[in-house]
């Protein structure tokens, strides 16, 4: 009952699902521990682009689901699930620039929490330098944001004012960005169009709307006693609705059909290489100015 105690649950009117027009993939590199710069965090991220909004999240969720499904479908499934992966970002960013909406969806213990954040107002300075990234001619733009000086490269050839993380608002898609110390870096991996509403995203109605302070309390509680929080949060409930849904291979629907939560005895998370990423974060991405 811990989760219920600290989180005010309310019902949110679902944001209508928006068809994805294109996706951009980024390789996100983050030096979280400046005393061990070689043990940085590295992760593949996806930006889903719709007409009036974008959604940015880790590709790891998809990978974890793939593993879940694979093990649960195995005839030898004994109720014990092992998930192998490097640590991944549990936050998704939903941006709707016309209305200056910026929302963060946190995943914790199988549930998703929706938090409002201030819309990141960015004052970009356009430079005249250009370079080619992935075949696109990109132009440079600079700015200062929450304690760091960033340089971004955007391409007017892809007319979407979005970008990775909280970086957006340029007249073209941001393909690469990094801070002046190279501690927060987004490398371009690829861009692809998505045809005919094959993929949609939105904010489903079962998200738990909460406030930052309440969520931080819950996060703290989860760190101390994950089992209790997990139990309180998932009782009588299947996996929550994903933000991004596909028409064809809808993995989450499959997961709901295949996995009977009562049969799961344990979930064991194995890091592929625990020694490669530092557990210490002494260098937050957002610093105070």
């Amino acid at each position: 009952m811990l989760a219920m105690g600290v989180v005010s649950v309310s019902i949110l009117r679902a944001q209508e699902d928006m068809p994805v027009l294109a996706t951009a993939h980024y390789n996100f590199i983050y030096v979280n521990d400046t005393t061990q710069r070689s043990k940085y965090h590295e992760e593949e991220m996806i930006l889903y682009i719709a007409k009036d909004a974008s959604l940015y999240e880790s590709n790891a969720g998809k990978q974890v689901n793939e593993q879940l499904l694979k093990q649960a479908k195995d005839p030898a499934f004994d109720g014990n699930i092992t998930i192998v992966g490097r640590g991944s970002t549990n936050e998704s960013y939903f941006v709707r620039p016309a209305e200056k909406i910026f929302k963060v969806v946190h995943k914790l213990g199988g549930r998703q929490y929706l938090l409002d954040e201030n819309y990141p107002e960015i004052n970009w300075k356009i430079g005249q330098e250009t370079k080619t990234i992935g075949g696109y001619t990109c132009q440079r733009a600079d700015m200062h944001f929450r304690g760091r000086d960033y340089t971004a490269w955007f391409t007017p050839d892809l007319p979407f004012s979005y970008g990775p993380w909280k970086l957006s608002g340029l007249p073209g898609l941001i393909l690469e960005a990094s801070d002046s110390r190279n501690e927060v870096v987004f490398h371009y991996v690829g861009f692809d169009k998505v045809s005919g509403g094959e993929l949609v995203f939105g904010l489903p109605s079962d998200l738990i709307v909460t406030e930052k302070s309440a969520f931080l309390n819950l996060q703290e509680a989860f760190k101390k006693n994950p089992q209790a929080v997990l139990k309180a949060g998932t009782e009588g409930k299947t996996a929550s609705t994903p933000l991004v849904k596909g028409k064809r291979d809808d993995m989450s629907t499959q997961i709901n059909q295949v996995i009977d939560p009562s049969k799961i005895k344990s979930i064991n998370i194995l890091k592929t290489d625990p020694e490669r990423v530092s557990n210490v974060t002494n260098n937050p991405i957002e610093l105070t100015d």
Binding site: A22, P75, A76, I126, Y136, Y188, F191, T272, E275
Partner: protein
């Protein structure tokens, strides 16, 4: 009047109906198309942009590109600084948005994922065709796959090792349309219980099968016929279910496709070497010429049929059962004429030989596997039975003497390999393994009329020579190890026992003209018994911390070898301690880069084929025997490798150095005359050293959609030969360079170019000796170009050209240019392809080749398959 320091442009965006357009980016562009300033419209559609003072307004362009509206672009004029823009709504059209670089590769930790769709071209059919195009990957002519220069250890199909290491059939047969992605697994440990516990530097690949392709059985039927009298048929069935997987292929042809290539087990020889069970090689041969260095389908005059059946099922509780069955029936002909020159100090010896060999090989190979691969234990048993053989009649003429030869052989090979790896409660690991093998390869070589009467048969003529030899061998290895897996230093301590038992039996017989049979005195019979026992204790340390991965192995062994042959009064025992340490280390120098260092010391003893005393006629002109004790060779081997990759940029680089030096206490001594080569092993200490440097780079060029690669290697070796009682030190140097490019131009046209230039030089390292030909050098240039045109998805027209050039100092220049063409039409409605292949359009019927080793020079001339046309119909069964 105070002027504003900056020029300002203002305006409003709205639709014809007067509805304001919020959050649309208004950009100001300079004449070269760069954006100099921009601003998004506010909620009322208003915008105000500050322009730098220095800018010339007259040259600027104001542009609004907003999804859902037609793009507005107007030239700015001087006095005007307010722009009211009416924008027209339209359906979202992304056709102008060009996708220039899809996410080709995902990288997750040690796994790299290539998207098949990004690399596949219209002309591709099988997954092997696509893997060939992926940067960093290499597919050899025999189907062997390498990733960044390293051969893959496993080939998985959706996580299951269906084909083991005979995976060439998989990459040839599986259509690329079934495969979503190709995963490259680096530092791959296939045994789950050992994952994160025992370090591995293996690379494996996994074909990720599309969900929709997993549902049902598919297959293909291929029917081909052509001129002159050609046929080429194939029937295959594929099913890659979660629970059940099968890949069954039935083939038959006479178009020159060697079906035995499908049965090549790429890692078998290294597995046997690791376990210490190297099979005695083939002792007898029907001739002295090798095969031409051309793709086999140019010269392979065949009639072949094969069945390749691979089936796998997962039972409840995770037990996996697998059967791999290979059957082959073949009949082929090789027709050649050769010259072999041997340069001696005062003399040059020349042999000429001409032969038509008809080979009739057959093969049956059955492998049954049961495996249980879990997080807490691993059990596997692999049972393999193989029976194969061939009959090889040939007509040989040599210096105007015509001989009839027949070489017959049978190979029986049976093995069972059991492994059990449980994890204990304290997480430590026990490894139990037992391997047993029986191997025999009886061979009989008959030659009529009898060869070399003056050497072999007191100068009197006789009817025929018959040489028989076999070495039945039993090999057993049992081992037990205990592994401590906690912390960054993993330790393993093991004990093991090897037992090897062999008997060599050989007889050299002569049939007289009157039909009676004689033995070649006593010296032509071997009854040699061989026993080898080894007991070992080993300690292995694996170290993994930060960027370093290292393994040190310290095996101590006590070995006894006994061999005896009563008729030669031979009864020898050799007992000794052996210590063969090895060390390897990998240092990660960047997120994707590493340096690897390997060192191994080996003290190796010769085998039974180096101690037999009785003479064996290994071919019509070579007689072999031994006089020395067991040959002992001590070698040091060092390998340094650097691997650099930038998977996001699709750049792959590898480079390395290899050095080895071996000292042996015996050497082969040859006594060569115009009639016969007599070879014996004599005790004499000698060294062999080799050094090589190599490198490769592979890069995908996004703008062109092309994969380019360049490989180079240089190697030199020094070794000795003992010829007619004279020790000759030789040095061989080889340099090779191979560039390649795979490009797709304008979607419909693709080009592939591959070239290899090889320079080989061989010389006597000791200048004091005078040989009749002091220095030799051969240059080979092999270039091939393939052009494919796909005007639409139905048609494919292609031409291949291959140019071969051989240059040699004292010989004529040899040039070949082979041209092939193909045409394909796809009938979607029928799920069919119709294909016309025209091979060897220039109708080249013979091929000449030179080769050079130490003091020997070879020239061979082979008969090729001529011009050919084959029409093939492929039907996909769904």
């Amino acid at each position: 009047m105070p002027l504003p320091k900056k020029k300002q442009v203002q305006g409003k965006l709205q639709t014809k109906e007067g509805k304001p357009i919020p959050y649309a980016n208004v950009v100001i562009k300079n004449p070269i198309g760069q954006i100099v300033a921009f601003k998004a419209s506010d909620s009322e559609g208003y915008f105000a942009i500050l322009l730098p003072d220095s800018i010339k307004v007259k040259t600027l362009l104001l542009e609004v590109k907003h999804l859902g509206y037609k793009t507005v672009s107007i030239a700015m004029t001087i006095p005007k600084n307010y722009y009211a823009l009416l924008m027209e709504e339209e359906a979202i059209d992304l056709s102008e948005v060009e996708v220039k670089s899809r996410p080709h590769i995902d990288k997750r930790g040690d796994t790299l994922i290539y998207q098949v769709q990004s690399f596949a071209k219209n002309e591709d059919r099988s997954i092997g065709d696509v893997i060939r195009r992926m940067p960093g990957m290499e597919v050899g002519d025999n189907g062997e796959i390498k990733y960044n220069g390293k051969s893959i250890a496993n080939f998985y199909i959706d996580g299951d090792n269906l084909l083991d290491d005979k995976y060439a059939i998989g990459s040839k047969t599986i259509p690329h349309g079934m495969v979503k992605g190709v995963e490259v697994l680096q530092n791959h440990q296939p045994i789950k219980v050992l994952q994160n516990k025992r370090y591995s530097d293996d690379v494996a690949i996994n074909l990720v099968i599309k969900e929709e392709a997993k549902l049902k059985l598919t297959g293909q039927a291929k029917v081909g016929a052509g001129l002159p009298d050609q046929y080429d048929e194939e029937l295959n069935a594929l099913l890659f279910n979660k629970k059940y997987k099968l890949l069954n292929v039935l083939k038959g042809n006479n178009v020159g496709e060697d079906l035995s290539a499908d049965f090549t087990a790429f890692n078998r020889s290294s597995f046997l070497a690791d376990i210490g069970n190297e099979h005695p090689g083939s002792l007898l041969s029907s001739g002295t010429a090798g095969l031409p260095a051309l793709p086999k389908n140019r010269f392979y005059l065949n009639n072949s049929a094969s069945l390749n059946a691979n089936n796998l099922t997962h039972l409840k509780k995770g037990l996996l059962l697998k059967s791999n069955i290979n059957l082959l029936l073949d009949k082929n002909r090789l027709d050649y004429r050769g010259l072999n020159e041997l340069y001696l100090e005062h003399d040059t010896i020349r042999y000429t030989e001409q032969q038509v060999i008809t080979r009739k090989p057959f093969l049956t190979d059955v492998m049954l596997t049961a495996e249980d691969n879990k997080e807490n234990h691993y059990i596997k048993d692999e049972l393999r039975f193989s029976y194969s053989g061939s009959a090889m009649p040939s007509a040989l003429s040599r210096d105007n003497l015509v001989m009839n030869q027949q070489l017959k052989e049978r190979i029986s090979d049976f093995s069972n390999h059991f492994q059990y790896v449980p994890q204990l409660r304290n997480k430590n690991i026990i490894t139990v393994a037992w391997y047993t093998n029986y191997y025999n390869r009886p061979q009989t070589l008959s030659i009529s009329p009898g060869v070399n009467p003056n050497v072999l048969y007191d100068s009197s003529t006789y009817a025929s020579t018959k040489q028989f030899v076999e070495i039945p061998s039993w090999f057993n290895k049992a081992s037990l190890a205990y592994g401590l897996v906690k912390g960054f230093l993993k330790q393993q301590y093991g004990v093991g026992l090897i037992h090897e038992q062999q008997q060599m039996q050989s007889d050299l017989h002569f049939m007289q003209l009157d039909g009676s049979e004689h033995r070649y005195s006593l010296e032509g019979t071997n009854r040699l018994h061989w026993n080898r026992n080894r007991f070992y204790v080993d300690a292995t340390y694996g170290f993994k911390k930060d960027r370093i991965n290292a393994t040190l192995a310290l095996p101590f062994a006590w070995q006894t070898v006994n061999y005896r042959d009563r008729s030669f009064n031979l009864d020898t025992a050799k007992r000794q301690w052996l210590f063969n340490p090895s060390f390897r280390m990998q240092i990660r120098v960047g997120a994707e880069d590493f340096i690897a260092l390997n060192y191994a010391y080996a003290n190796q003893l010769g085998d039974i084929s180096q101690v037999y005393r009785g003479a064996v006629l290994v071919n019509y002109r070579s007689l072999m025997a031994n006089r020395a004790g067991l040959r002992e060779e001590k070698s040091h081997r060092v390998r340094l490798r650097y691997n650099f990759q930038r998977s996001v940029d699709l750049l792959f680089v590898n480079t390395g150095l290899d050095w080895s030096r071996a000292t042996a206490d015996a050497i082969l001594s040859s006594r060569v005359t115009n009639q016969l080569t007599q070879t014996i092993l004599v005790p004499l200490s000698n060294n062999v050293s080799t050094f090589s440097a190599y490198g490769g780079i592979s890069k995908y060029i996004f703008g062109l959609g092309a994969t380019t690669a360049l490989k180079a290697s240089w190697s030199t070796s020094r070794f000795n030969q003992l010829l007619n009682e004279q020790l000759l030190p030789y040095s061989n140097t080889i340099f090779s360079l191979s560039p390649s490019i795979e490009a797709r131009l304008w979607e419909l046209f693709s080009l592939s170019y591959q070239a290899t230039a090889t320079w080989t030089a061989s010389k006597l390292a000791d200048g004091k000796l005078q040989l009749s030909l002091p220095e030799q050098a051969i240059q080979l240039y092999d270039q091939s170009l393939m052009l494919n045109l796909t005007p639409n998805k139905r048609w494919l027209v292609g031409v291949n050209g291959r140019h071969l050039l051989t240059l040699q100092k004292h010989a004529q220049t040899i040039r070949y240019f082979f041209i092939d063409a193909h045409l394909r039409y796809t009938v979607n409605k029928w799920h069919s392809d119709i294909e016309l292949n025209l091979t060897n359009l220039a109708d080249i019927k013979t091929y000449e080749a030179y080769s050079l080793t130490a003091n020997q020079f070879w020239y061979n001339r082979y008969i090729l398959r001529g011009r050919m046309a084959v029409l093939k119909y492929t039907f996909t069964i769904r």
